[in-house]
Symmetry: C3
């Protein structure tokens, strides 16, 4: 139960933090607080997030995505948007629920569809869902929604900056230079606010989370203001909404999140700002026909197109896409440089994990049970559920264990040196000390570098000695043969081709470590 | 020839019946009759359907799709639409043909593209094709089309209900309560009619076809009217067109066709109605810019999105998608419950068919020729064409037979027990009584449950004894070895691992039976 | 260096020639000249092409696509378009660069996405990119772009023909019949020109390149004019822009480029013209809401839809899609007929190349080194880079050679007759005269027709004698065993199943020959 609550809270905070491409709980909590600067909007957003999390849990979507907040940050924005622009009444609740469901459907569908191409959905579902509400509200004679007096929506639809006369006076009456106030106001635009204080609080959270992210927001801000000043596009200055939501966000996404931060990623962050001007202008003009605001669509379209543009290159060159997303530019950069350094001497042999999906190390190097002495540098892998259990049902048969029958793969290219595949799988609780390693495949990768996977399922091995295998080739199925009280996969690197050979410490080149807290 | 005419008539009737997600010929025939209540529209629709069927036959698209009417129901609607709104002249014929070809192209393209995601195309091609005609007619100074006086198109484009003054007086002067008349008028909207009598006739056909479908139309009607009454969205009542084509159809599609009917499917049918209101309003508003009606687009978009939303769940839970479409809610429900019951004791071993595509049983259990005595529970499979022939050309060589060289698959997981692959394939007309079973694979699935496939092609078998195979793995090619006068596949389940073992009756878990009439 | 310049020039000329579906350098050069009839537009176009080529080279996209001009013809049009409609100033340069980058991104993304379905991108990126500029220019109070006085853009946006009063008088004051002048003006519309002389020059280039293409342009012209005359759609005659860019181009694309030219392809070219009228009208009407011209979008949409419509047929029938594009209707037709004739007697055995991708024959039939006497009909294959080198780095290890470790495939269905896989790979520079053929696979296809691949990598062979293989099945990896001083693949057809058998001349059925100049 406690686990479930923690899981729910983490999903909740991530739904907020991911708006700045983060999974930082402190930043998430700060954003929750800031969203309540406009109490109705904050509450509507929170309700939408909670409702969304309940629905996606009930309908059993991917847990990893739910926990990362991937299904709920668009409905959060829908809640904040509707809460910001409409008065609360019975119809408000109905249409909030309808818009939330429709946006959730769009989120799931687009996340899957764009995901096939390795692309993110960003805030596209929010934009589409919010348009539906705006259109429906102006379409019918009577829908029950009462619009608030909001200069922001008018400004967005008109595409021109209208200087607000009476806006959050208490929040913005701070004695600061114009551009600094504008910067903080722009940051607060993410929540449809126009508040120096809100932007300040969000900036602090963001600065704590990542200095690189913060620097990119400043860069995007500066380039946009300079470009506007040069060409005089907005004579009265860029509106804080487009500044924050489109120009600064695109710099952040391209410069530090989807690309490994570097001089070149910053260069593309700069290039993307004038292109964003093109799209903001064009989309605003097109949508003015429907009296709709462009919202964050220019940012979404440009970021998705640029990403796919980079993905389609045949080589990476100096511009590296983030291979595994750690939701922090610093961590991404650190791991990229670290891996480059760590694996510099392993150019001929970079190991992949010998399985698919997410597994847990049940016994590591120098383990308590069997990984000792000359055999200490080995890893035992199992699959666990959220309660750290390795099985479902009673756990009295191998079939009950999550890892049983899962494919075992070649960790790198090589020639199969030895295969044992006739050892019977043990019943749960018994072990076979005569045939200690059970069914095993040994692959020669280089002279003096052999990998061994053990305890495979009887007769499941599809390769034979002398055969050439490529990285990722199917070897056999995870089983419960040999000295194995329950199904698990034993993996080790060794210097000799024999079944009982001693172990060699050797790093994996590519894997994603999951945070446990 | 008679077969061809039957095939054509079936395709024709299905093009009508599928508008209500049915393949019922009686319903189809009734709908043909109703379409002629507006003679010009009915004729234009019929001409479009016949033309479409000729073209797709000529260009050799998938026969199953042609027969189900999947390529022709959108052009049917185009014909009815153009026939309803324009006067007949030379230009009428030209543009009818052009619109029909364009809609057909869209139908084929979208059917394939959405089909990749397991999604239906619904009436999207009709909507797009009809828009093109409406736009072109108002774009050029002169296109030759003469619009009829039609309040319906005005009403649709304006998005407001305009009470018709003189409408099909004879049809609608029936003494019935308002809501009952509205219900039948809404049903008739599918054919751009506004007629109590037409709706009544269609309802009778639908009621005969499926009580579940009818109950869902009533449910959609009631929820839409209640929701409208509560919020007062359309102060003068919902127009019969949107009511029938969008609100009621979405309830039918979600509640009983794409989902197995259940309390939960009805719940989602109810939820989908308010969401449909959102889309009808939003689309009407957007399209009013172009003076275009939303037609059935809200229904299409919502149904397709909801379906993909459900497909993307990782588990089915209480909401079951229809696994194999039998075009009848009752049949879908019956087969779902029946299979659940029938296969309850087979949780460890659910058999798939040992091949791909559509085959025919040439000799079943207790067959006349060889499936007798202890060997009676066996099945012989061949591939037949529309004339029930098993071969093309002269049929004097194994290569002439449709099933020859087709892949044979493992019907379930297991360990290969025995393989024979050296028996030569017979010439046509001769049989090999020395090696009765020819090339054979026997797989052990459970203790006492073995499957055997026989008469495979010489040297085509890719598995070896002792090897583990997964369900659907390639075993070898269908051949003509052993006691086989012509190529066919022999399949049986047996309790012992030997080549001559006796048979065990055992059901297949998943397959689609084709209607033969 | 010289190679690089040639490569660049070829890519440049192809970017122009491909506008008429050609790779003819003379046509390309003529088009460059014609583009400079409007000097600013010509220069802007040239700058965009050069910039695009630099960027895609820098970011390492597919070389074949770069060389064919596939990434640069859309930015060429953007340059010509912006150069034709705006005055040159500082802002002009900025927005030209921004539009060029955005169009390039769209080109890469759409080329890949449509390519997954086997579809071309045509000028869709240009249309979208140009719309963005038009929209942005009219959206902002001030963007810095000064529009030229252009009747063309007004005409396009209005959808009506406005007779120009003062247009390129010197170019059009030619004494020719109205329709002939209109034909040449229509051809020149591709570059946003309205000039009889330009059209004449382009027509000459096109006529030299392909008489079929020219005839299709005439056909499209005639059908469009006749259809318009009949229905009186444009009472004052079709505008030269739509005539050239939409009606004539669609006839060219369908009648002779994407389909093998035939009576049926010409028939579909004729059918496509009225459908294009539907789309031109509909799109013009829709886009008039945004004051945007339809440009070449009707052509793009119709061609892409029709192509996919044809691709989705289950059989080719009388309408053949171009299987391998040679960028010339005549060549496509010749090769299609030639192959049909050449391979008529090979109906049971049509050979594919035994590898993937693009390889070079290093020693052909009757070669200088080893392909002599009874063993003369053999082919040695290697992979070369643009400098004709077969290796990278120092070339002192087999791994340095491009072809090493590449998969070797079965050229046709058959039964594996013999396998040798134990011969060690040679170090570079040494050869193994004891085991002349190295690791080898021999496949029996028909009685008296065996294929042999030799010099494979040790232990890489995945098939065994007696096994049935399908065309394209993986046999092993290219290696350096036997009489092989450097890694290469030896391929031959022979009449006997033995390793040293003599060769039989036999053609490949399907391959694409690359032009070398």
């Amino acid at each position: 139960m406690k686990k479930r609550i923690l899981y729910f809270i983490q999903a909740l905070l991530n739904s907020y933090a991911i708006l700045f491409f983060s999974q930082n709980s402190v930043l998430g909590a700060l954003l929750v607080v800031v969203s309540f600067f406009n109490p109705v909007a904050g509450l509507a957003g929170l309700v939408c997030v909670c409702g969304t999390l309940l629905i996606v849990n009930q309908l059993s979507y991917q847990r990893e995505n739910i926990q990362a907040g991937l299904y709920s940050f668009n409905t959060l924005l829908i809640g904040i948007g509707i809460g910001s622009f409409y008065h609360v009444n019975a119809a408000f609740c109905v249409w909030l629920a309808v818009a939330c469901i429709f946006t959730l459907i769009l989120t799931v569908v687009l996340t899957s569809w764009l995901g096939k191409y390795g692309l993110p959905v960003l805030t596209v579902p929010f934009v589409l869902g919010f348009w539906m509400i705006l259109l429906a509200a102006s379409s019918y004679a009577e829908i029950g929604l009462l619009p608030k007096q909001s200069y922001l929506l008018n400004e967005l639809s008109a595409g021109q900056v209208i200087e607000p006369h009476i806006l959050f006076a208490s929040f913005n009456n701070v004695q600061l230079p114009y551009y600094i106030k504008l910067f903080f106001r722009a940051i607060s635009a993410l929540f449809f606010q126009d508040s120096v204080v809100a932007g300040l609080v969000m900036s602090v959270g963001l600065f704590v989370h990542s200095r690189i992210s913060f620097s990119l927001l400043v860069l995007g801000f500066a380039v946009a203001c300079a470009f506007n000043a040069w060409l005089g596009i907005y004579p009265e200055g860029i509106g804080h909404y487009h500044l924050g939501v489109n120009f600064m966000m695109v710099a952040l996404a391209i410069g530090g999140f989807f690309l490994i931060p570097s001089l070149y990623s910053y260069l593309w962050a700069i290039i993307s700002v004038p292109v964003a001007f093109l799209l903001v202008g064009a989309f605003t003009k097109m949508l003015s026909v429907y009296s709709l605001p462009a919202l964050s669509l220019p940012f979404c379209v440009l970021t998705i197109l640029l990403l796919y543009f980079f993905i389609l290159r045949t080589g990476a060159g100096k511009l590296q896409l983030t291979p595994l997303q750690h939701y922090s530019p610093e961590t991404n950069l650190y791991l990229y440089l670290n891996n480059k350094d760590r694996l510099r001497n392993l150019q001929y042999l970079k190991l992949n994990l010998p399985f698919l999906g997410s597994w847990t190390v049940s016994q590591g190097y120098n383990g308590d049970i069997t990984h000792q002495g000359g055999w200490a540098q080995a890893l035992d892998f199992v699959i666990q559920d959220e309660d750290d259990k390795t099985y479902q049902e009673s756990g009295t048969r191998p079939e009950h264990f999550y890892c049983f029958n899962k494919p075992v793969l070649a960790c790198a290219d090589g020639i199969v040196e030895a295969v044992v595949d006739y050892v019977e799988d043990n019943e749960i609780g018994t072990i076979n000390l005569q045939q200690n390693w059970g069914n095993t495949v040994i692959i020669k990768h280089l002279t003096g570098v052999y990998s061994k996977v053990s305890h495979l399922r009887q007769y499941s091995i599809k390769v034979k000695a002398g055969e050439f295998v490529k990285q990722g080739d199917f070897l056999g199925l995870c089983g419960n043969s040999g000295r194995s009280p329950e199904p698990h996969l034993h993996f080790q690197i060794q210097t000799l081709p024999y079944i009982g050979s001693k172990t060699l410490p050797y790093p994996f080149a590519y894997y994603l470590k999951q945070q446990t807290d």
